[in-house]
């Protein structure tokens, strides 16, 4: 199997084959002595040239995959170069951007009207959850094309709140 892995903007090519005992692994064409055991779902115990690591995997609702090694989190994108469908490129800066509720809660206030121009980081609306008020900010400079909620509305995590273009 061949995987292209993208981490912190850097691309790694990984060749992995199951062997009698463990794995045969090449990272960017260099051989790596690897042993890996799934110690429980989403937790991998791996030994790389004798060094032990525990790697936890977290998958978010929007399809992102994060791996945790110690206190550090790595966002990873895995592509199989032989696959026909390639993962869509995320985060096009020029297109419309959806503002999504990061948590379930209630829309307390809307700070801006439709068609208004906003700066990146400007507050668009306030959502209350767990007794805390949280300002949802514009992800980029642009125009608020549509507000999808009204004040007082209950929202779930992942609900679209507004579209900034």
């Amino acid at each position: 199997m061949i995987y292209d892995v993208l981490i912190d903007g850097k691309k790694y090519r990984l060749q992995l084959e199951r062997a009698e005992a463990g794995w045969v692994c090449h990272l960017n064409d260099s051989p790596v002595r690897l042993d890996a055991v799934l110690s429980r779902p989403e937790v991998l115990s791996i030994l790389i040239d004798g060094k032990a690591h525990e790697v936890k995997r977290e998958r978010s609702a929007n399809g992102e995959v994060h791996l945790w090694i110690g206190p550090s989190r790595y966002a990873v994108e895995v592509n199989d170069p032989r696959g026909l469908a390639r993962k869509r490129l995320a985060g096009d800066e020029r297109g419309p951007r959806r503002l999504v509720a990061p948590m379930p809660g209630k829309v307390l206030r809307i700070l801006i009207s439709e068609k208004a121009e906003v700066e990146a980081g400007q507050g668009i609306l306030v959502v209350e959850a767990m007794k805390m008020q949280n300002e949802i900010k514009a992800p980029k400079k642009g125009i608020v094309r549509k507000l999808m909620v009204v004040e007082g509305a209950a929202v779930n995590a992942g609900d679209i709140l507004a579209i900034v273009e």
Partner: protein, 502 residues
């Protein structure tokens, strides 16, 4: 002794009290709202009853409903935990009238301590040291100006019914006073339904140190040493420890004596906490009394070797304190981290949701009081405290090292938690030296962060590939699950869909 106790709370503190009941051979009764059916306290209790919708006002604050469950289940006493009804004099009164023992002080003692101005007036009579201030609500701008001139700037405006930093304003100069008073009043009115505001001389960057007291119903009151609670973010405690590295034996005895005097002046019974501000010269001033078990009670339990919840129950059952003041000795050091469902990288946004993976620390010197479990969905409706991680050792250095080790073992997946905040605090040299005051943490968080070590990206790349290969091996080979070489992450979804269709 009681045969059955109802716990009018949820989360980790309900679990804590249920455990004490189990240890004492007392049956426990849990109550739960719509969103808490699957919560840990319901799983751990002997009996559990539904009390209403998610909104606390209609469930955990619903006095009539809770007393009805107490009657129906035959509970003889109610433990209120902290928060919710724990400091509600009306509830204590209603329990007494219903013939159910409230595990805590009397309604009268609670009411006296519930108002900061009323408490001040009573404590002044008992000769308790105070931050110089008005002790009475301010009637006008003019009165405020005269008082501020008398005590000297800077001054602090505080809501009489206050707590959690609400209705509080620091005023550095006379020209700021009028608008600050108006703002504090309206904030207090909104937060507590009571706009009474008083004025104190401001103690800049004090320490916040509190003393635990226990009083039985036979006139015996003792103090159990202090807790250092200066590590606060925006007036909210984040780390608590016992003992305080700032308090020596002499100061401990003096603060303890005053704490006992405060409790006695209020006719206090059961467990309570007297909060003090301590300035750099080790002068201490009475701040307020918390008439309940505190979130941070475990650090006191560890250094005294006592179980405060057991003792609360024994006292409520009419037993005498089983020890005298001179039998209480402090040993070692304990530090508590409050683990919250919030995102430290995003302005401490609350982060409710499903816990997809939970790896919990254990081993020497670690205590974990938790209300969460893997697969549980943290509801959006309540305080985001998930668990308390307490590290202890022979001394403070060892307690810190054990906590750091335990934090490395702790992993909560699917939601964000503030675990990384504790790594940062515990590795800070000022914290290590005990150089903390109530402004310490906000200063630390405003300072630039150390660059994170990112040298494991090759390991992450290999792990990502292994996960993908394992996913592929587990995907049903005969189904359409693997069509078009979809990215690995969709195999699970596909498999789940297949399963749902069967």
């Amino acid at each position: 002794m009681f045969k059955k106790i109802l716990i009018a709370n949820r989360g980790e503190i309900a679990v804590r009290v249920i455990r004490a009941c189990r240890e004492m051979g007392i049956a426990s009764v849990a109550v739960y709202s719509d969103v808490d059916r699957a919560s840990l306290h319901v799983r751990k209790a002997d009996e559990a009853y539904h009390i209403g919708p998610a909104a606390a006002t209609e469930s955990y604050l619903n006095i009539a409903k809770i007393l009805e469950v107490a009657k129906r289940s035959g509970a003889e006493a109610i433990h209120p935990g902290y928060g919710f009804l724990s400091e509600n004099g009306q509830f204590a009164q209603a329990c007494a009238e219903a013939g159910v023992k409230f595990i805590g002080p009397t309604a009268a003692a609670m009411r006296m301590m519930g108002s900061k101005t009323r408490a001040r007036q009573a404590m002044e009579k008992a000769g308790v040291p105070f931050v110089p201030g008005t002790s009475r609500g301010l009637a006008s701008h003019d009165e405020a100006e005269q008082a501020a001139a008398r005590f000297g700037y800077p001054v602090m405006l505080k809501a009489a019914a206050g707590g959690g930093g609400k209705g509080m304003r620091l005023v550095r100069a006379p020209q700021e006073l009028r608008s600050a008073l108006d703002a504090a009043r309206s904030e207090a009115e909104r937060a507590f339904g009571d706009g009474e505001v008083y004025l104190e001389k401001a103690i800049l960057n004090p320490r916040h140190i509190e003393v635990q007291v226990l009083a039985d119903e036979h006139g015996n009151t003792v103090y159990l040493g202090e807790r250092e609670c200066s590590t606060q973010r925006r007036h909210q405690k984040v780390i608590e420890e016992a003992p305080s590295s700032f308090v020596d034996d002499d100061l401990r005895r003096r603060m303890g004596d005053v704490a006992v005097r405060v409790a006695q002046a209020a006719g206090y019974t059961n467990a309570g906490t007297i909060e003090f501000l301590v300035d750099a010269e080790r002068n201490f001033y009475f701040l307020e009394m918390n008439t309940r078990l505190q979130v941070e009670h475990p650090v006191t339990e560890i250094v005294t070797g006592l179980d405060l919840v057991h003792l609360q129950i024994r006292i409520a059952a009419g037993e005498k304190l089983p020890f005298a003041q001179d039998e209480i000795a402090l040993r070692g050091h304990a530090i508590e981290c409050r683990i919250y469902a919030e995102d430290p990288d995003n302005n401490y946004f609350p982060s409710p949701g499903k816990i997809t993976l939970l790896l919990a620390p254990s081993g020497p010197g670690i205590r974990r009081d938790s209300g969460m479990y893997e697969g549980w969905t943290v509801p959006v409706d309540y305080d985001p405290l998930l668990a308390k991680l307490i590290g202890y050792g022979t001394d403070r250095t060892q307690a810190i090292a054990r906590l750091q080790r335990a934090l490395d073992e702790y992993f909560v997946g699917g939601i964000k938690t503030n675990i990384s905040l504790f790594r940062r605090i515990l590795s800070d040299p000022d914290f290590g030296q005990g150089r903390i005051d109530t402004g310490y943490l906000d200063r630390l968080l405003a300072s630039p962060r150390q660059a994170e070590d990112r040298n494991h990206s090759a390991v992450a790349a290999i792990a990502a590939g292994v996960f993908a290969a394992m996913d592929a091996a587990m995907a049903p080979a005969s189904s359409n699950g693997n069509r078009n070489g979809l990215p690995a992450s969709s195999h699970w979804k596909e498999a789940a869909r297949q399963e749902a269709l069967q």
